[in-house]
Amino acid sequence: MGKRVGMEVAIASAEAAALCKFDVAAVYPITPQSHVAEHLSDIVNDGRVDASFITVESEHSALSAAIGAAGTGARVVTATSSQGLIYMSEVLPIASAMRLPIVMLIANRAISGPINIWNDHSDIMPMRDTGWISFFAENGQEVVDMTIQAFKVGEDRRVMLPVNMNMDGFQLTHMVEPIIMPDQEEVDRFLPPYVPYAALHPDNIVSMGTLGLPEIYAEAQKSKDVALVNSIKVVKEVWKEWEKQFGRKYETIQSYRTEDADVALVTMGSMGETAEIAVDELRKQGVKAGLLKIKLWRPFPFDDLKKAVQGIRVLAVTDRAISFGGPGGPVCSEIRSALYDEPKRPEIVNFIIGLGGRDVQVENFMDIVRRAAKGKLSEPYEIYGVRG
């Protein structure tokens, strides 16, 4: 059942893609994703996977090449970060509209300016509405598992959508840690070969990415939305199958010590386990703290959230990005909308933390819970620990 190895998480994500036997990798390197790009290139160069590595001059071209390759029926992986993802923005919704199950490994990083190479979620958040499925990994093991799961979910005939697997830059990508790397045989059993719905081929002419006149555009958008909303069933099905085969459980929203919780933190990404330590410490002090960790960002798990917050008095939602001039952080905004119609809902406070690599420590989470317990903040959201 796999092998426990020590490995840098960025490298492990590329290894996971290799276990999925991708046909094409089209990647442009950018910090902190560079080790992913380099390692995918090594894997292809060493002949470990029968694949092509397309060197491109930009991220816009990387995703364009990925779309072209996926259009021929290839299994395609790409990877990026920060400005690179923003540069792909023009092409992102085309991949989902063409229903091409590309997998993108995102090493989440702040966006400029000021120029900052460190971690937060301000790269993926503006790309939220491009019709991709979004996973958020919490540790190296989840990065590997979710990379493999991403291909299976995206390629399911009921889904046929691109998937991005978000791993926090540096905090995850540059960490050497223990990971159970599945065997090739196990992955082969889990992930069948990709059978495209339609493929570009000179002998069998099809059109993809055509013009959508006003008579059809709205229908096309609806079909994408329906596909994305319905994909949650397949995500859960695939995660159940994963659990059965590999013994590791995945949930859209993972609860930690929430049974009798009075105040619950909400996190997404690599800070989840650090927040667990804070919950444990608070519990020792008699504070009924809990934690909800979001693993599936798109499609947003509305029903699971409603169930997960039952009985909780205050939700302290943490965000790693700002919706400028808007309601606060994008995660909190979603949670507020999700619970608005509920007859009984917790009070919700929003803390924006860890922007541009600002370190978040156990004590910070403890402080956030203690302050949230007192209820409303003086502002709709607070950028935690900020000066001025």
């Binding site: 460190w118 960490m175 050497v176 223990p178 800070m271 420590q361 156990v362």
Partner: protein, 182 residues
């Protein structure tokens, strides 16, 4: 949980060291993290890198502010950066140097244990180059028991191939020679 901070200069192999220590611990079945100071690094400029080692799963992902051990690969950094910053009073400061305690104390504000190892001397003899990262790993292992000294062999072999035996010998020699000097 054991927390370690490494000080070196870009190119001296601090990042390689944290990786080798983490891999050695993980191969023993332990839990470990090895990570660089996040951000751009330049050859010759002061850099730091970090390790955590524990028998239990390591959940924390924030920075290390109060290490149990600080390793200084390059003695010219002593006095240039505050190498003992945040070091636990019960911790150990390990410096690659031939200087005496009195000389070191001129530039170090730390009342706890100080250990020295002539890693540069060992590296010249064993490797023929003054690259001290694998040598200092041996000294670290002696002082902390983070892993068994033999456990370094596998990851060093994997990393260095043909020149691995020299690095393994250097680590073992430092393991034998490192001393707490106060």
């Amino acid at each position: 949980m054991l927390e370690i901070r490494w000080h070196g200069r870009g190119g001296q192999g601090a990042v390689t060291s944290v990786e080798l220590l983490a891999l050695s611990a993980i191969e023993e079945g332990k839990y470990a993290q090895g990570f660089p100071s996040f951000g751009p690094e330049r050859r010759g400029a002061p850099v730091t890198a970090f390790n955590r080692v524990d028998d239990k799963q390591i959940k924390i992902r924030s920075g290390i502010y109060h290490p149990d051990l600080v390793v200084v690969l390059d003695e010219s950094l002593v006095g240039l950066v505050d190498v003992a910053e945040g070091l636990k009073p019960t911790g150990i400061l390990l410096v690659n140097t031939t200087k005496s305690l009195a000389e070191l104390k001129k530039n170090i504000r730390f009342e706890g244990k100080i250990a020295t190892c002539d890693a540069t001397g060992i590296a010249w003899k064993e490797l023929g180059v003054p690259i001290t990262n694998t040598t200092m790993l041996g000294a670290l292992v002696k002082l902390t028991g983070a892993v068994k000294i033999e456990s370094l062999d596998g990851p060093i072999k994997e990393r260095f191939g043909r020149i691995a035996p020299k690095n393994q010998a250097a680590a073992k020699r430092a393991f034998a020679e490192v001393k707490i000097i106060n």
